[in-house]
Amino acid sequence: MLSIYLGKMDGAIYHPPTYFDNQYEDEWITEELSVCMIRDVDHSEVVSARLIESPVLGPISTKELSGGVKTLMLMAFDGTGKVFNASVCGDNCAKWILEIANRKDLTINLRHIMDFGEGGFEARILNTGDMVHDMLGFARIAGKYV
């Protein structure tokens, strides 16, 4: 289940990629979900926990992954209960946020209107308590807060 807090949120991790660099665990990188997200968003292949093959940059370290995919991994694997600012994620991360929220209860902070795509999705807007089921409903509420 996806819950979204819109606008500035006290206690949320403002820049998750920096948090990731200092807190990630090697085993997150080789999880099947991470491998798929890195392949889809960064167009890169996980060689090992500490080596990624990027088509543009060549062999890179985990810390050189995109801010978007680092934030997705935090959403998926960080066990601290922290809420991450998903506005460092581009729209190409949206489907993965929905996928992670299918697997667990996930709360994110959004400071812009992310495009979750044409299909339906379920999310609770924490600011209002409303459930939204598609982009039209989401954008109508989100526009009041971001």
Binding site: D42, V56, C89, C93, L136, V146
Partner: protein, 319 residues
């Protein structure tokens, strides 16, 4: 600072090339499109110069603004282009907005947040994309593209017009609309445009707003336009730009300015272009019968000939 500045940043694998022509440009778009890499390359070039292996080509210094001393750096910098990454929390503060005001520098801001305290243009919100390999098979060529290039199909024949403006611009569109049986209302400011769309039915609606400063509103307006085919955005630089561009005021200098506004508009004097166009129109109409005042529309602009010339130049609305 004035002018259009071409920027090339490259190493052995990446080649970024783009132009900036206003004081504020925004880069957003998909993850993994190279935004942070761009900042990292610039930072390396700034710190190590040629030793970095990064080549930066531009007619003014390109620098990264970050850290606690950002304000001090800014106060002592002139004629530079500053790149700021989204990790800098000062980006969306009033303090930063105040520092940009009157600055002799240009800014390229990497953020998806809507910076409501800064008036940036819809035309200067970009994404980055790889446009293919460059020269050889190793190097990837990165360019900017305008994110809001599709703002609803225009020209439109509207049943209702909503203007951002509540003064002269609104008075003009209201007068023209009344003659044609079109509803016209003012949102009384760009920040009210989103709320003004609440309750819109199936009628064809055209929002008229200043493209030069509507940037922060685009994220939420754009989703409404995409999802509601009957909502259209007409975003000229400003109402004053419409008049200047119409040819109603026959001045050679106006034509020259409109061809390349960036060569005339100094970031130090004008936070956004629409303020310059207002001043230009006021200066050119002086205290004549054409005298333009933003607060109240001079009836001259509603005379048949004036109206016809202005309306003919509006390419976003069919009256």
């Amino acid at each position: 600072m004035k002018g259009k500045h071409r920027i090339v940043i490259q190493n052995n694998r990446l080649h970024y090339e783009f132009e900036v022509k206003r004081n504020i440009s925004i880069i957003q778009g998909d993850s993994a499109s190279g935004k942070t890499t761009l900042i990292n390359m610039l930072r390396q070039a700034e710190n190590l110069g040629d030793s970095s292996g990064v080549e930066v080509v531009c007619d003014v210094p390109c620098r990264v603004l970050e850290g606690r001393n950002w304000k001090l750096i800014l106060e002592n910098s002139f004629e530079s282009i500053f790149f700021i990454d989204e990790e800098n929390a000062f980006l969306n503060t009033e303090e930063f907005a105040a520092s940009i005001h009157g600055s002799d520098n240009y800014f390229v801001l990497i953020t998806r947040e809507n910076l409501y305290n800064l008036p940036y243009s819809v035309e200067e919100i970009y994404g980055l994309h790889a446009s293919g390999k460059y020269h050889d098979t190793k190097k990837v060529y990165q360019q900017m593209y305008q994110i809001y290039s599709n703002t609803g199909s225009i020209p439109v024949k509207p049943e209702k017009i909503i203007t951002e403006d509540s003064n002269a611009g609104y008075e003009f569109f209201k007068a023209v609309s009344e003659e044609r049986g079109i509803l016209c209302e003012s949102a009384d400011g760009k920040s009210n445009l989103f709320a003004a769309l609440d309750g819109i039915g199936r009628e064809e609606v055209c929002i008229v707003a200043d493209g030069a400063a509507i940037g922060p509103e685009m994220n939420r307006l754009y989703h409404q336009v995409i999802k509601n085919k009957n909502i259209h955005l007409y975003l000229p630089e400003s109402f004053e730009w419409i008049i200047l561009n119409s040819g109603l005021i026959e001045e050679k200098e106006i034509k020259e300015v409109l061809k390349k506004p960036e060569e005339y508009i100094d970031s130090k004097g004008y936070l956004s272009w629409e303020r310059y166009f207002t001043k230009l129109l006021m200066d050119k109409t002086g205290i004549s019968y054409m005298q333009y005042k933003k607060s109240k529309l001079n009836p001259f602009y509603l005379h048949d000939r004036s109206k016809r010339i202005i309306l003919e130049s509006i390419n976003g609305i069919r009256f």
